[in-house]
Symmetry: C2
Subunit: 676 residues, 2 copies
Amino acid sequence: MTESVKSVPAPRDQHLRDMANCIRFLSMDAVEKAKSGHPGMPMGMADIAVVLFSDFLKFDAEDPYWFDRDRFLISNGHGSMLLYSLLYLTGYRDMTIDQIENFRQVDSKTAGHPEYRHATGIETTTGPLGQGIANSVGFALAERIMNARFGDNLSNHYTYVFLGDGCLMEGISQEAISLAGHLKLGKLIAFWDNNSISIDGATSLAESDDQPARFRASNWHVQEIDGHDTDAIRNAIVEAQRVTDRPSLIACKTIIGFGFPTRAGTQKAHSDAPGEEEIAGARKILGWNAPPFEIPSDLLEDWRKIGAKGRNARMAWAVRVQTAKADVRGEFERRMKGELPSDWTGAIEAAKQELLSAEKDLATRQASGIVLNHLAETIPELIGGSADLTPSNNTKAKSMIEIAPGHYNGSYVHYGVREHGMAAAINGIALHGGLIPYGGTFLTFSDYARPSIRLAAMMAVRSIFVMTHDSIGLGEDGPTHQPVEHLTALRAIPGLAVFRPGDPIETAECWQAILDAPRQAALIALSRQPMPLLRRQPGSINLSAKGGYVLLEAEGGARELTIMSTGSELHLAVEARAKLQAEGVPTAVVSMPCRLLFEAQAPDYKREVLGGGTARVAVEAAVQDSWDRYLGLDGRFVGMHSFGASGKIDDVYKKFDITTDAVVRAARGALGVRRR
Amino acid sequence: MTESVKSVPAPRDQHLRDMANCIRFLSMDAVEKAKSGHPGMPMGMADIAVVLFSDFLKFDAEDPYWFDRDRFLISNGHGSMLLYSLLYLTGYRDMTIDQIENFRQVDSKTAGHPEYRHATGIETTTGPLGQGIANSVGFALAERIMNARFGDNLSNHYTYVFLGDGCLMEGISQEAISLAGHLKLGKLIAFWDNNSISIDGATSLAESDDQPARFRASNWHVQEIDGHDTDAIRNAIVEAQRVTDRPSLIACKTIIGFGFPTRAGTQKAHSDAPGEEEIAGARKILGWNAPPFEIPSDLLEDWRKIGAKGRNARMAWAVRVQTAKADVRGEFERRMKGELPSDWTGAIEAAKQELLSAEKDLATRQASGIVLNHLAETIPELIGGSADLTPSNNTKAKSMIEIAPGHYNGSYVHYGVREHGMAAAINGIALHGGLIPYGGTFLTFSDYARPSIRLAAMMAVRSIFVMTHDSIGLGEDGPTHQPVEHLTALRAIPGLAVFRPGDPIETAECWQAILDAPRQAALIALSRQPMPLLRRQPGSINLSAKGGYVLLEAEGGARELTIMSTGSELHLAVEARAKLQAEGVPTAVVSMPCRLLFEAQAPDYKREVLGGGTARVAVEAAVQDSWDRYLGLDGRFVGMHSFGASGKIDDVYKKFDITTDAVVRAARGALGVRRR
């Protein structure tokens, strides 16, 4: 039997301890009622939260969207009750005690992990470990970029992030730490819940790192303190703020489940309902007499004061916005609203004109580069970047200036070979507001970034992932670098708009659709290899925004065959159609640059496009899974059935039989089935 | 215009320089001929390779599969020509000069990146950065585990790995470094190609890390040397071997494209054909007169001697194997052949008996734990582990002893919260041979490990990924932790066998199918929640190994309806069938635990199982994409169309309408379409 702990270390300040106990008991009570959850982290980090919120965090519970608020994230998102407790205690209107009592119940705002948009004051969705610390790099970078543009008067806030041992074990944390240190993000302050406990037991089971040394190696300022000593916490934050040329880590030695009689300091405190006995013990140890879910009125009053203490600062900031020069104010307010400049579609049209006048075939990555040249000049909030593939991804617009350590008056980020960290930082930038981030890598490496891409889709933020070299058309680099299953895997993510434009004009249209959807995470897959211009008379309607459309209607009779395609295979469909039409088969070509948007169209439109009752063929240099729903049992697919191969582009397409002839053969097969 | 460099640093030893130049010119010539590839790394690391191969690497080109060879990996796999050059020069029979001349051509052995199984001497597939260093941890750990079991006489070799700046920027490298340092893998020696160049330009564009300090923080021994100083390289390797309680990093300051007149030391050396002029300059600078693809015979002879120098050691080892005690020898030879113990299926049968006698519903993760208890006692080469979710994944069999730093006489690894590093280490263990590794996490976190899972499938090695909490049935942890798109995304990976057993018996059968396929990467998805026993009379045929089968045939007439399902939804199909049969609809239930294996069945079998011509419904608590091929245009799907939600399991299933009633409704819909 575990020995009971009769006491906790005496507090520096009994009032602060009591304030922290409000968090502790709300967390214990909520987890106990839900019979599920993670009390250990909120109980361990409560003292840190109290000091941070009392003396430092710039916020106003009345206006959760105040642009110049400090951002507060918990990367160890399983400790969600810490955040929910703070939101309730400081008076966020939507975080009622009912919500706390309904912790982890369907349709409550208090989900198991903090979910962005579920309640105000939740800055990002966390839970998958390491994401929050990596988001925080994007938040802190966005703040500096906005500061460089609009000055201290309008943008000057900190990003604070709590993180746990698990976050530090995840590789993404290294990418984040390394990038933040390199960029000298001095207003990023991280608190490590150094409790030495993980789910399997002591962290020493799996880990021997000297974390402070690791952070120092990446150019961070590091302090090590007792995470229950409120004076030490306060002093450390002051010092972290004083150091402006490096991000700060405050390594806080804490006791997980601080206050539990038997579970404190053990993995049993991490998760699960503690049980009545354990809570009774905690009450005794922490001197807490209030009933469950009740906060003594004097303490609640003090918490509410904390929630309101930023009001004057917010008012003063609002005055500064009002009194800023008209053009600055106009631009700043536009950015805050997330509206695009009124003339932005002109940039799309100009890009189309340039693309139409190109005298040679272009890869869609090149077309994308041309589109970005136009967009970047019109939309200053575009923040480009690449995971060390800038010349391949065509992500750096001509007018873009590079962001460098300490120099944030730019709009292009060299993210390094850090696809995961890049994607999470992009999420942070998008969540911060005022900027529209995109970043590039090869499509095959979307796998490295997938957990963050998933969260972008879940949060429905305008994170934009630019993925070039999007098929076996990558050629010689071979199967490791050739995406095959990635389009299917990405299209399967709910809410992620996966675009794969089939020519330069579609590329411009896809960018237009992406930018036009502020609550839509998007990924655009682009070819390495050049392909023909198929939309010579594009017109003003954005056909790609419908997701799928009839590129070429059948001629010479009622449509008998529908060939569907995307991207670099679209021209194969067009060529196959020409042959089939010549043979007397009325054949339509459907371009499907974005399945998600197509699925959202009206049923009649979809039926018309897909040619209800016609034979169907799909061609895409990828696996077929995401096409099966349109092919039915009798349709035919031309594409990949295995990993790719290293070789010249044409040789590789031939090897896997993705050719015009193969499409024609498939069409005959599909027609044959129907005619039987 | 770039200024021309007229010279390179003088060599310590002209002969070694000449030996290194063999690598350099083969690499240049191959890249130039292919007009594609990466000459910079082979030219920069050639000196290190020469010293390593001449004086240290234990191998015999005559027997690439010699079990006790040192392993040599290049994590910076784009430098594949370094490896191909070494294989050719040292005399691996299949690596002819023709292969070198056909670098990066379709169906050559010399793919753009090293592909496992394409040629002997390629220990692992690399290219996606960071994978090789993370594989190397598995190799080095496997060696120590085999050593602990079989002693120095039979297993006592080093793992050497080359890596680049890109590898170190990828987060997976941190997971690998941290794990290797923790486990004190003293026979792992890494060489960092510290050339300060990445694709976007100087690494200083994106990175400021003190890499030696970072490695030291993770308990590595670190040396910093001039990577072109052959004496320094030799001394460093000696020292690295002397230090036995820590892995070693040798940070080698190198010049990328060493020998190029204008490109050396710049990002232009990294990739692409250098052009004739650049090669001509290199010939002059390095004093190389042989024609392209020709190695002067004296140098080739010396290289071939290096390739043969391990022969005596190999013979001596073979004698030690022959003269080992009969039981040791028998076990060791069985392990080397990758054969399972003759009585292993008995363990499966025993597990089934235990599962059949369970008096309550079991989650498939629990059933899996029971199966593993039986297997671990019979198959000592099973090496289990979890990414810090041992109690949730049920991955630790009762008999398994934990592996701890310096103590390798066990079979369970606490991988820490490092899903990606775990998966890559598992690949390394599987590639090493002698052991069968598996590791667990939640299915949703397969995303974190996806690049390594993909490589396991591409290499076709028996890496086993145990993924529990495989649907919204995870409940309260909410959408971040509930896999929805993951089954579709994983099934889309070519060659990956994704299993999702539908009851405890199927769980045993799936494990049997997994272990029975030595050239098959597998992932098994398991439920958090208990579910009923559906296979009460399992019989001796492994039905799950067929991938899909008729669990319950239609009764009372010819089959009109087929309900397909997997995993925790299979019992919904069974319950729905009962209702439909009661309504007079002859209904079959098809269980589909592994689509990949089902697809490999004969067409007749598949048609029979799927019920050609019947109405079809599929139910799975996931997105539908991987079912569409069986549903056709008229089938109905019951499953997920969005991310999940936090709540009690039953509430969540109801919220998303994945219930018996929903299946019945869908069935009526599907039947209605057919009857119209």
